[in-house]
Amino acid sequence: MDVQRKRQVRLFVALGLALVLATGLIYTSFNASSEARQPTELSQAVPGKNYEMTGKVIKGSIRKTKSGIAFKVSDRDGSGSLPVTYSGVVPDPFREGREIVLKGSVEDGVFVGDKDTLVTKCPSKFSEKKNQ
């Protein structure tokens, strides 16, 4: 009986811990996450809130600035134009016309990217053809 009791206690402790972990996961993940947006959707962005922006780098818009680079992005379908500033590592495949993903927030109509969060999708040149 005693052993039985002890086992039950153990089981409840384990289940309790699992529950705490699960709640923690769910709660913090909604807090810490950043919503994914395309450039045109960011026109009504909450200032200071963190977003994950997915867009296409507009041709001829990349400039070097003092602290990094500045460029403009459009939606995947080419509509809209949002100025972006970014400092940090520029990934190797970063180019005009390519799709990028960048975390950051909107300040005065400019998307300010977080340092080192720029991701360039691998160019489709090497894989798109076969999927037509």
Binding site: R7, R10, A14, A18, L21, A22, G24, L25, I26, T28, S29, F30, A32, S33, S34, E35, A36, E52, T54, K64, S87, G88, V89, V90, P91, D92, P93, R95, V101, K103, D116, T117, V119, T120, K121, C122, P123, S124, K125, F126, S127, E128, K129, K130, N131, Q132
Partner: protein, 740 residues
């Protein structure tokens, strides 16, 4: 093929036929692979795979390996490897497990049918698809993948994934046939270990590639695809520990069955994620059409296996329960729970974009800090239990026993803690300090264990200490191989903790002659460099690194610009339209790595390239008029044009070193990164130590067993392991180190 074996029940002839079908499949897949490889090597661009992933200029080495850079090729590789492991596993068990094998065969061939079917019928992933118009030259292999590590990374991961099929298939077989003793586990644990080994090294190689080839300086970013390979690894790690409990104590059967099903499902998920484009990832090479099929297979595996486990619950229930929390099986179970919790965290984080889209309508993503918050404490606790586990006996341990085995490791850990606090700045990061302390505890515990076992052996045999250690270890390779793996794993985690907590990173802009200070080092940009090869222009920088006023090293980070080869008119600008890859300048060291990458300033060169291209186009107009007048001069003119192009490119490039432009560098001083790779190599040696002779002797044992007509259960270990401690067995048997 499948038809022959689905009907495999009872009748031996059917079983033999199905096994031969597996052998035949291997033969066929081998031919497929050879045909594709031949096409790659001979530049047969009528195959669309070859045209899209190779070119005349692609080096031979990369032509061979270009196969698995494509979706079709990687599916073919999966199927081929599957046929290899099914053949080997069925060969090894051909005289054993008569009830289980037919079902296992059916499962493995079922999976094989899925993959081959996918290639033949699934949307456009047939590796033998041909092009209507054969191009003159192929697109070439993505230069980012042209790296020796990238060549072996995918097949290693795939071998890991595929090898998991074997224990999964046998588990299903055991469940269906209701033969759930430990026999199927003994027959397939080698495959589980092989899967684990390959997964480990696949993951480590990926990290290494990221560190040396991508210009960001890290080795892990919680990218969905990285996570996809980590999840099956975590579950497989849990599995190879918990099956020991089933073997020794006949417990945790439901748990084990669930683990192997999950790890196989996660392996499929891993293959699926890389190719699906469901989640944003640098690895997601465009969207693919095979996604739904994979999801279907994963669904079938999960639902089918769960139903099967539930229907067999009556016989899976353990006759025994865990007696004490301070026993080896309890610690194994805790370690298991930690690993599964880790996997749950990674899973949730990876799929959070989908989950949040489902719940709130907007897709949200989680970044590395969120992952770190959960995985760090879990990993630290894991290190602690890695030390405790092997020291405890099965069933339970007495208080004297606890004092005896824990005294020395605790003292070592405390000493490490104190020394760390006095001599290093480790106190700045509590988690890193915890990892270092627990690592000292775990490593000293493992050494103490080995030492005690060897000492006992020396007393009985009278041999030297070194001889006794070797004797002990080689007689129980699985156990001591495991210890070596644990040590490697601890070393690796120390490297991860140190490099992530105490890294110094700076992005600096320098002109030639200028310097910057990073940590204790001073970096001076000496001069720009330029070079070219068949495929790329290479811009770089010579850096001098000084420490304490003395020269420490010279580094030469570069960035290569690969030319677009799409049959357009040649021009210098096409180099800048193509891919660029980084080659980092690295000075590795035991204490810290000095890492640099460069982002060359090519604005001026590109302007000059445009001007040169304009003039070249003018020349081409004149030349083509000449060819029209006199067609026989065409080859001569082509040679002339190529020569002019060549010389112009060199001329333009010569301008680069003369410029005094500002160039951006990333400089990282990262402590103990090399421990990660060292730890991985130690772990590799450990698992080889555990695998090698057992497998060999197991096979010999199987053959002898077969000859003796004892088909059901030949020896799978070097020598039959001691029977588990009897209920009244000695409380501390771990220190004598004979049982595993």
């Amino acid at each position: 093929m499948a038809a022959a074996l689905i009907g495999t029940r009872g009748d031996r002839r059917w079983v033999d036929a199905s096994r031969r079908a597996a052998y035949a499949l291997f033969g066929l897949m081998l031919i497929c692979v050879i045909v594709i490889e031949h096409a790659f090597l001979t530049n047969d661009f009528s195959f669309s795979v070859v045209a899209n992933h190779s070119s005349e200029a692609t080096p031979v080495f990369y032509k061979i390996t270009a196969m698995w850079s494509s979706q079709e090729g990687s599916l073919l590789l999966w199927a081929f490897l599957l046929s290899v492991v099914s053949t080997v596993s069925l060969r090894l068990t051909r005289n054993r497990l008569r009830d289980v094998v037919p079902w296992a065969t059916a499962v493995m061939l079922g999976v094989a049918v899925f993959f081959t079917g996918l290639m033949l019928l699934g949307g456009g992933v047939n590796p033998f698809a041909t092009l209507a118009t054969v191009p003159v030259d192929g697109t070439g292999l993505n230069p980012l993948l042209q790296h020796p590590v990238m060549i072996i990374h995918p097949p290693m991961l795939y071998t890991g994934y595929v090898a998991l099929t074997v224990p999964f298939a046998f588990a299903i077989g055991a469940l269906v046939s209701r033969r759930i003793d430990a026999a199927w586990i003994r027959s397939t644990r080698g495959f589980a270990l092989i899967a684990w080994t390959f997964l480990t090294f696949g993951i480590i190689l990926g990290a290494r590639w990221s560190y040396t080839e991508l210009g960001w300086g890290g080795y892990w970013a919680w990218d969905p695809v990285e996570n996809a390979s980590l999840m099956p690894w975590l579950i497989t790690t849990a599995y190879i520990h918990s099956i020991m409990v089933q073997e020794k104590r006949n417990m945790l059967k439901v748990w084990n069955a669930s683990l192997i099903v999950s790890s196989f499902a996660l392996a499929l998920l891993g293959t699926f994620l890389v190719r699906s484009g469901v989640l944003q990832s640098i690895h997601a090479f465009g969207d693919s059409t095979v996604g739904p099929y994979f999801l279907g297979l994963i669904g079938v595996v999960v639902v089918g296996s769960t139903a099967l486990i539930i229907s067999r619950l009556d016989i899976l229930r353990a006759p025994r329960k865990i007696d004490s929390l301070v026993s080896r099986e309890a610690v194994f179970l805790i370690n298991n729970l930690l690993l599964v919790a880790l996997c749950a965290v990674v899973f949730w984080g990876t799929f959070f974009p989908l989950i949040s889209e489902l719940l709130t309508g907007t897709r949200s993503t989680l970044a590395a800090p969120w992952f770190d918050r959960y995985t760090t404490p879990l990993a630290v606790t894991l290190v602690l239990f890695t030390g405790i586990g092997p020291m405890l006996a099965w069933r339970r341990i007495s208080w004297q026993g606890i004092r005896r085995v824990f005294a020395i490791p605790l003292v070592v850990a405390a000493a490490t803690l104190v020394l760390m606090l006095i001599f290093t700045p480790a106190a700045e990061s509590a988690w890193a300090l915890a990892v270092f302390t627990l690592a000292a505890f775990t490593v000293s515990a493992l050494f103490q264990e080995t030492w005690r076992g060897a000492a006992a052996r020396r007393e009985s045999s009278g041999r030297s200490m070194a001889g006794s250690v070797w004797d002990l270890m080689s007689r129980n390779r699985r156990r001591y191989g495991g210890y070596i793996v644990h040590i490697g794993f601890v070393v690796l985690l120390v490297g991860v903790a140190a490099s992530s907590s105490f890294e110094e990173k700076r992005d600096v802009e320098l002109r030639p002659g200028q310097s910057a200070t990073v940590g204790d080092y001073e970096v001076t940009y000496i001069r720009p460099t330029v070079d070219r090869n068949d495929q790329a222009l290479i811009f770089g920088a010579i850096l001098q690194v000084d420490r304490d006023g003395k020269q420490f090293t010279r580094l030469h980070p570069t960035r290569q610009y690969h030319q677009v080869t799409d049959g357009r008119t040649r021009s210098i600008e096409t180099y800048f339209d193509g891919e660029a890859t980084s080659e980092v300048g690295l000075k590795p060291g035991l204490r810290s790595d000095f890492w640099t990458s460069v982002e060359p300033n090519t604005r001026y060169i590109r302007r000059r390239a445009r001007m040169a291209d304009d003039r070249f186009r003018g020349l081409m107009v004149v030349l083509s008029r000449k060819v029209r007048r006199d067609p026989s001069a065409a080859p001569q003119v082509a040679d002339f044009a190529a020569d002019v192009m060549n010389r112009t490119t060199d001329k333009v490039l010569e301008l680069y070193p003369q410029r005094n432009d500002t160039v951006t560098f990333r400089v990282i001083v990262s402590p103990l990164v090399s421990w990660i790779w060292t730890g991985a190599i130690i772990a590799l040696l450990g698992s080889l130590f555990a695998l090698w002779p057992t497998g060999l002797l197991g096979r010999v044992g199987a053959r002898i067993g077969a000859r003796l007509g004892d088909g059901s259960e030949p020896v799978a270990e070097p020598r039959p392991s001691a029977p588990g401690p009897s209920p009244e067995g000695p409380p501390v048997s771990a220190a004598t180190g004979e049982e595993s």
